[in-house]
Each structure stands twice: as structure tokens, then as C-alpha cells.
């Protein structure tokens, strides 16, 4: 026993776990199966009722914003996969769009169609994952199995496109790296039919009128519209509180201004309303995907924007033209140098408003990059909405916020 006694004093933020009064302090996580990764909640309980909740985060901190300051713009793109790893393309796209706004370039039409397809496909993947884990947290095991089956088909589509299932990196600054493989659009159309069928006949049939499901979700985790706005809630959390705001509709980017889709809103402000909202959003996503399939066929086969000082030329030009090769060499070895300036670009990721703030000083490295992650603010909300609820509902409320720790801790 070479260990010296009392060298390690457990560090619990000066929390007093042993109380004299009737309340009890318990640690929830960071390794709890329904802690959605690495959430540690310190709960003060009076009987079974939560008196005080303190979300503790940082167990998955990798310093992604710091890494952004030490990587060139193109180098950093695969790192954004690790933010919200359930829907990586949404992060890749948000970052690429922010850099494109900084550079003042726009992706060609075909790239825009492919990107919008991938974004909506990722929304379906993420929503299916939400449904599966949320149902599992609440206790409905079979929904988890069914939802993961459909999610698997969606990830097969992603794999056919870019080769990766989770960390896609399928978007580049200025466009997309690849065209769609042969037969992909037919598979996508078949997938849309499948999702629509399954949403209606499996998930909603299993859950929507299910007595247990309704008892567990109705009037649990009620967030008023003012609270949601003040806590910085976005995406389904905001629309679940009756505020009709979707960045795709209000501040359209990519092709969303040309597409026809509805923004579902839940007026009940509770977990059940948000569940219905997620179901409806999946249907809207397949509706968007169906509209995109004919749009793809009308586009020119260009995939990357033409901006020689920022974006490498296509491979055939690099291999045949000297100047394109020189540009490519400089862009690969030194990295692109965007103009000086700052930009904040919000996008509607499956979880909410995912925005990248980039401050550029004209160097190949971002001077400051701030990732505005929706889950970070939804985690902050927990300290208010958990108070007064029962310990059994805590898991439901964490599940309904749909937080992912890759983007909370960054």
C-alpha cells in the first residue's frame, strides 16, 4: 500500500451530500444510461420531488473552439462532425455555410440540392434517434428497436453517398465533394415512403394514443413561451412552446425558400406536444425530400463553387492546368485566407439553432470561432424546469430536451 492516506479528497464542488434536514442530494450521471452521454445532474430531493437541480457539464469537453483557432478552415471541417454526432451533416453544413458567407461565395445549384437532401435526411436520422432513446427512457423498448431499424436505412443512404455512417464530413466549403451515386435517388424515394408508412403505422400507432405513453408525457416538462425565449430555446423546444419560428422558413438558406413545407407548432408546451411535433417534422422532412428529387435532375453537374483564391479547382483541371495546380498547392499547404470580418450564421439543425460565429483576421486560421449549440442552452434550462417535478419525470424531461453532449461540451 504505497498510497498515502487522504491524498485524494473527493471533489464535489463543496456539495454537502449528508444533510440534516429532510432533503436528500443525489448524483444523476454522468454515467447514467439516460443521461444522453455525459450529463451529471445534482438533484436535491424532498421525498420524490426535486427541490433543486444543478446540471453539471464538461465531461466531454474536447476544446473544439480552441482547435478551430489552430486549424485551417478546411482542416477544421471534419472536427465539426464531433459536435452533434447524431446528425453530423447539419454541423458540417452550418460551419461550411458560415465560412461561405465570410468568403461571399455560393455553392452551385446541384451542390445545394444535395446539401438540402443530406440535411433533411439527417433531420430524419436525428428525429428517429430522439424517438428511439426517448421511448427507451420512458420505458417503451419496442419503439427503440423499430426506430433504429429505420434509422439504419437512413444511415445506409448516408453510407452510399459519403462512405461514413456517423461522422459524415459530407459537405465541403463551397459545395459537396461527390455527386450522388447511381440509384441513390430511387433508394431515397423508397426510404421516404418507408418512413412515412412507419411513422404513421408503427410509431404513432404504438405511442400517440398509448395510455402509458400519454400518462408519462402529458403535462410533464411544461415550458411557457416566455420561459423558452428567455432560456434561449430553439428548434422543437421553442416550437413545442407555441412559438412558430423555424430558421428554414424565417431566414431561409440553401433551397428552403423554394420548397413547400409547413412548420408544425405544439400549443400544449409539454413533452407530449413535443413528441407530436417531432413526428410531424419527420413527415415534413420526407415531403421536402420528395420535392428535391425532381429538382436534382434539372441541375448542371457542377459541385464546387468557382472561387480560385479560396476553393481548389476540380481534379481534372488540377491535373491538366498549371495554374489550377498552383492554386491547389497553395490552398492545401497554407489554407485559404478569408477576408477580415466577423459573421454569425444561424441554421436550423435537428436540435435547434446551430450557429457559427467566426471572427477572421485575414489569416488561414480563424481568430475566434464560437459554436452556438442548441443543446447547451437546453441543458441550462434543466435547472429551472426540473424543479418541482418528480424523480420519475426527470428522465422524461431530459429525453424531451433531446440534448447531445458532443455539442454541449464541445
Amino acid at each position: 500500500m504505497s498510497q498515502q492516506p487522504n491524498k485524494l479528497t473527493p471533489f464535489f464542488e463543496n456539495l454537502n451530500f449528508e444533510r440534516d434536514d429532510n432533503t436528500m442530494v443525489i448524483n444523476f450521471g454522468p454515467q447514467h444510461p439516460s443521461a444522453h452521454g455525459q450529463l451529471r445532474l445534482v438533484l436535491e430531493l424532498d421525498g420524490e420531488q426535486v427541490v433543486k437541480a444543478y446540471p453539471d457539464i464538461g465531461y466531454l469537453h474536447r476544446g473544439i473552439e480552441k482547435m478551430a483557432e489552430n486549424m485551417t478552415y478546411n482542416e477544421f471541417l471534419p472536427t465539426t462532425d464531433r459536435l452533434d454526432y447524431i446528425a453530423s451533416t447539419a454541423n458540417n453544413y452550418a460551419y461550411a455555410l458560415a465560412v461561405e458567407k465570410l468568403l461571399g461565395i455560393e455553392a452551385p445549384r446541384r451542390a445545394q440540392v444535395i446539401r438540402t437532401m443530406l440535411l433533411e435526411l439527417n433531420r430524419v436520422i436525428s428525429h428517429l434517434f430522439f424517438l428511439a432513446t426517448h421511448a427507451l427512457d420512458v420505458g417503451a423498448m419496442s419503439v427503440f428497436l423499430y426506430a433504429f431499424r429505420e434509422r439504419e436505412y437512413a444511415m445506409d443512404l448516408m453510407e452510399d453517398y459519403c462512405g461514413a455512417r456517423l461522422t459524415h464530413s459530407s459537405v465541403r466549403i463551397g459545395g459537396v465533394p461527390l455527386d450522388l451515386p447511381a440509384g441513390w435517388l430511387e433508394n431515397l424515394a423508397a426510404f421516404c415512403d418507408k418512413v412515412d408508412y412507419e411513422v404513421e403505422h408503427t410509431y404513432e400507432a404504438l405511442l400517440t394514443e398509448n395510455r402509458i405513453w400519454k400518462m408519462r408525457l402529458e403535462n410533464v416538462g411544461v415550458i411557457s413561451a416566455e420561459e423558452a425565449l428567455s432560456w434561449g430555446c430553439t428548434g422543437p423546444m421553442l416550437r413545442g412552446s407555441g412559438v412558430k419560428y423555424d430558421i428554414r422558413k424565417e431566414e431561409p438558406y440553401e433551397l428552403y425558400s423554394e420548397l413547400d413545407f409547413d412548420i408544425p407548432v405544439a400549443e400544449t408546451c409539454d413533452s407530449y406536444g413535443r413528441y407530436r411535433l417531432y413526428m410531424e417534422e419527420m413527415k415534413q422532412s420526407t415531403r421536402i425530400l420528395r420535392q428535391l428529387i425532381p429538382m436534382y435532375k434539372k441541375t448542371e453537374p457542377r459541385l464546387m463553387a468557382h472561387a480560385p483564391q479560396y476553393i481548389s479547382a476540380p481534379k481534372e483541371e488540377i491535373m491538366t492546368q498549371n495554374y489550377a495546380l498552383m492554386q491547389h498547392f497553395v490552398l492545401v499547404t497554407q489554407g485559404m485566407r478569408p477576408p477580415k470580418g466577423e459573421v454569425y450564421v444561424p441554421t436550423e439543425s435537428p436540435k435547434g439553432e446551430l450557429g457559427f460565429y467566426i471572427k477572421s483576421e485575414g489569416e488561414p486560421y480563424a481568430y475566434r470561432l464560437k459554436c452556438r449549440a442548441p443543446s447547451f442552452f437546453h441543458t441550462g434550462l434543466l435547472q429551472e424546469i426540473l424543479v418541482g417535478t418528480y424523480i420519475a419525470d426527470v428522465v422524461t424531461i431530459i429525453g424531451t430536451t433531446n440534448i447531445v453532449f458532443g455539442e454541449v461540451d464541445r
Binding site: 458567407k101 434561449g232 477576408p339 441550462g380
Partner: protein
């Protein structure tokens, strides 16, 4: 001669920059008359030091001491009901200042405003938590990452880094791979600073588990009282490594493929 590396900014740098290259600037537009943004600028009045539109969003430069008043006006009179993001940029090396920004959103108009102010090193900023609760986490993160103190914050404490961490990771003076304190963090915490020499940099394994330690590690399935001695008199044995070289590839003539 060793290459000069500035101490006040140890982040990634371009290894080559053309002498005559001048970085262009993202175009800044004037605030148009009759637009929504003009009413915002008018509502703020003389508190605005500088205002322009950059990539479709209004940027308002203000004095740091007026941040609460300005943001209150934006919330109550201009309808900016949500604070999307709040953080800082480290300009200590150039100007000895931090640049703080507040990213606000008006849902009715679908417009965004960025309020920018600068504070000197060591100065504190007024909290906007009474206006937007989302600033609670955002300001804590700013404090954690930059060490900027926030006045009247309800619970200003580190949020992402451990509470006993030294240094603020997003400062430009903080190296990417961490500093001396960061590399010895686990060793200092578990064994104490005096063990740095004994353990050495090559052995500082944060995941090391002492076999007979019953104080910090429970033995699942074989629980014993806290601190009990379970070694049963067995001496701790150092791991032995073989002295003999099994295959000496330096010896030369050995042919691996007999067919040759």
C-alpha cells in the same frame, strides 16, 4: 538562431505570408433609411458608438458600461426577445482588451443584432441574466474560457473545465496542448505535487489503478470496508520485462523466407 515565437499569442500561425498581401475586408453596409435596423439604431440613440450591417446583421458598437441599458432597450422596445449567444474574443495581445459580443434575435421581424463592446483586461462586465436567462450558462462559459468576471451573475462558476483548474483555455496565451498545470493535473490531484518527480512524465497515466487500493476504487463483487488492507501480506511486485531479445533483426543474415 531559434525561430522567434511570440509569447502573447501561441495559436496556429501561417508559416508563410506574402509581404505585399493585404487582407480584404468583408463589406460593411450603411444602415438603410426606413429599414427595421434604422429604428433600432434610433432607439439606442447616443449609446451607439458605431453601427453598420455586416452579412445581413446589424452590428452595434457600444460602451461596455452601458451593456445592460442597451440590451434592455433592445429587448423591451425593439422586440429582441432572445439572446442567442454571448461570448468574447481575446484581443489582449494587440490592444490589451477583450471584445464581447451579444447576439440577439427578433422573432417577429426575423432580424438579428450583434452588440459589441470592449473591456480592458481585469475589468468586469455587468450580467444580463435579469434580461435573458440563457446568459446564465453563456456568461459562465465566458468566465470559464476567458476569465472575464461578470458582475451580479447569480452563480459565476466554471462550467466546462473542472472547478480547480488553473488558467483559461481560450486565451491566446494558452497553448493548444495545455500548459504545465494541465499535463500534471491528475498526478497532482491523486498523489500530490511531490510525486511529480517520482512518477515522471513518462508514467503519468491518469487511468492507472492501484491493485490493492480500497480507498478510491471499489472492488465490484468483493466489497470490503473502506481502506481495508486486502494484500494478504503479498508484496507489490514490479512488472518484469524480458532482458533477452527474442528476434534480433539487427543481426543480419537471418532469412525469413526459406524459399529464397
Amino acid at each position: 538562431m531559434r525561430k522567434y515565437t511570440p509569447k502573447d499569442n501561441v495559436q496556429g500561425k501561417s508559416y508563410y505570408t506574402d509581404r505585399f498581401w493585404v487582407a480584404p475586408r468583408v463589406p460593411r453596409e450603411e444602415v438603410e433609411e426606413g429599414s427595421h435596423f434604422e429604428t433600432v439604431v434610433n432607439a439606442l440613440g447616443s449609446q451607439v458608438k458605431e453601427s453598420y450591417i455586416e452579412v445581413g446583421q446589424l452590428v452595434v458598437h457600444i460602451d461596455a458600461s452601458e451593456n445592460f441599458a442597451v440590451i434592455k432597450t433592445l429587448r423591451d422596445e425593439c422586440g429582441y426577445k432572445q439572446c442567442s449567444e454571448q461570448s468574447a474574443v481575446d484581443y489582449l495581445a494587440q490592444d490589451g482588451e477583450f471584445e464581447l459580443f451579444y447576439q440577439l434575435l427578433n422573432h417577429a421581424e426575423a432580424k438579428r443584432v450583434r452588440v459589441v463592446c470592449r473591456i480592458k483586461k481585469g475589468e468586469a462586465i455587468e450580467s444580463i441574466v435579469p434580461l435573458y436567462k440563457s446568459a446564465n450558462f453563456a456568461e459562465r462559459e465566458m468566465y470559464d474560457m476567458f476569465g472575464i468576471k461578470v458582475n451580479n451573475h447569480p452563480f459565476l462558476k466554471r462550467i466546462i473545465m473542472p472547478d480547480d483548474w488553473e488558467g483559461h483555455p481560450l486565451l491566446k496565451t494558452y497553448p493548444l496542448h495545455g500548459d504545465e498545470f494541465a499535463s500534471w493535473y491528475e498526478v497532482d490531484k491523486i498523489f500530490g505535487k511531490e510525486y511529480r518527480d517520482i512518477i515522471g512524465p513518462e508514467n503519468r497515466d491518469p487511468a492507472k489503478v492501484e491493485r490493492y487500493d480500497t480507498k478510491r476504487f471499489s472492488r465490484v463483487g468483493y466489497e470490503v470496508p473502506f481502506g481495508a488492507d486486502i494484500s494478504e501480506g503479498e508484496k507489490e511486485q514490479a512488472i518484469e520485462y524480458s532482458e533477452t531479445i527474442l528476434v534480433n533483426y539487427n543481426a543480419g543474415t537471418k532469412q525469413l523466407d526459406e524459399r529464397k
